[in-house]
Amino acid sequence: MKILIVGGGMGGTILANNLARRLTSELESGSAIITMLSASDKHMYQPGLLYVAFGRMASDELYRDQRSLLEPGINFHVDPVETFKLAENHVITKSGKRHDYDIIAIATGSRATPEDIPGLAENSINVYTEKAALNFYKSLREFEGGKIVISTGVPHKCPMVPLEVTFMMRDFFQERGILDKVQLHYTYPIGRLHSLEPVGKWAQKEFDRLGVTYETLFNMKEIDGDKKVIHSEEGTELAYDLLVAIPPHKGMEVIDANGLGKSGWIPTDRHRLSIEGYENAFVLGDTTNLPISKAGSTAHFEAEALGNNIASMIKIGTPGRDYDGKVFCFIEAGEEKATYAMFNYNNPPDPRPPTKSIHWFKMAYNQLYWASARGLL
């Protein structure tokens, strides 16, 4: 039984390790083989980018050697897939190698594409790559006062970032002693402050308390960098001195190029995580087209459900348990406090008032994550 995992991020790595632990005897006897293909020899802890953007983490702390995170027995190759032949159960990589499989799991993730909105890439700052996060921190240090607009494109990964950057910027400028010179103005694409209604309600109260102004039903259409004005799809204009963008995202180009999903989002069954039309092809993490949070925890819980399912299919011929939509997101709320949103398909989140202990748990998790990546936590 050949299992192929495409992508070495959170979803792919946790799935590979989860399966390796469940299939120890099959791997030893050779009746199962797990292969992982990735574009990089490094594994990046993406939630750390937010802390790099505020000078709290060094960017080298974001990376570990991918092979060091994988259970022995997993065949790992830095050789990304270029061609998917799902109907023929094989892929072809950049080096020209063909990998046949019995089961494939695609976890290629997503990428910020600010270039999709005219003027956005060159006139805004964001936290979504190492380079962008370092530039973000530099911009914050150099900002002397004025109006900061936080604006969100759709879709995007890490659903809490729009709120977290706002709270963390407020703290940052307060520490710098120039909060009275800074106006934070938060915008959001739909008719509330967050896609998750309870989180939006909680955020509104916090913004009112902290003096953050906001407007809803605001979608960036074009940025005029000379005049420093955002033109919205809704026909309005918004002036800024510094534009903090949560850019729109796409899946990886290889997904669209292979006709697997428009904009790189693969049509996926919400419970079985299978690709529509295939019994042996699965998707997890950001690259699904599921209308749920594109979060690391989503990939994590999907990987656990899928690991259970695939192992069960191999051992007893039937799937195990479905993915129930579970997501868990910390929300840094400023003032060294945090809360969290935990929810699934049937139960919405109910964020509690932020506490210091949840913030410190998040700080600890930034280090404990590596145990999750190894399938232990």
Binding site: V154, I190, G191, R192, N219, P291
Partner: protein, 58 residues
């Protein structure tokens, strides 16, 4: 949010049907569609799910 992303990435004339169990969306979506200048083709509720059919008009 899915509708906004879909409309941005779609072509003029594309039709989208949104199914939502979220009552807030059932009010927000028509408001946004009208504000931006697209068309609402149909809107109904069935067994607790709101259906809104829209066309990208520009």
């Amino acid at each position: 949010m899915e509708l906004i992303a879909g409309i941005r990435q779609g072509e003029v004339g594309d039709e989208f049907e949104v199914l939502s169990s979220d009552e807030g969306s059932a009010k927000d979506i028509p408001e946004w569609i009208n504000k931006v200048g697209h068309e609402i083709l149909n809107r109904f509720e069935s067994e607790g799910v709101w259906h809104i059919v829209v066309r990208k008009a520009k």
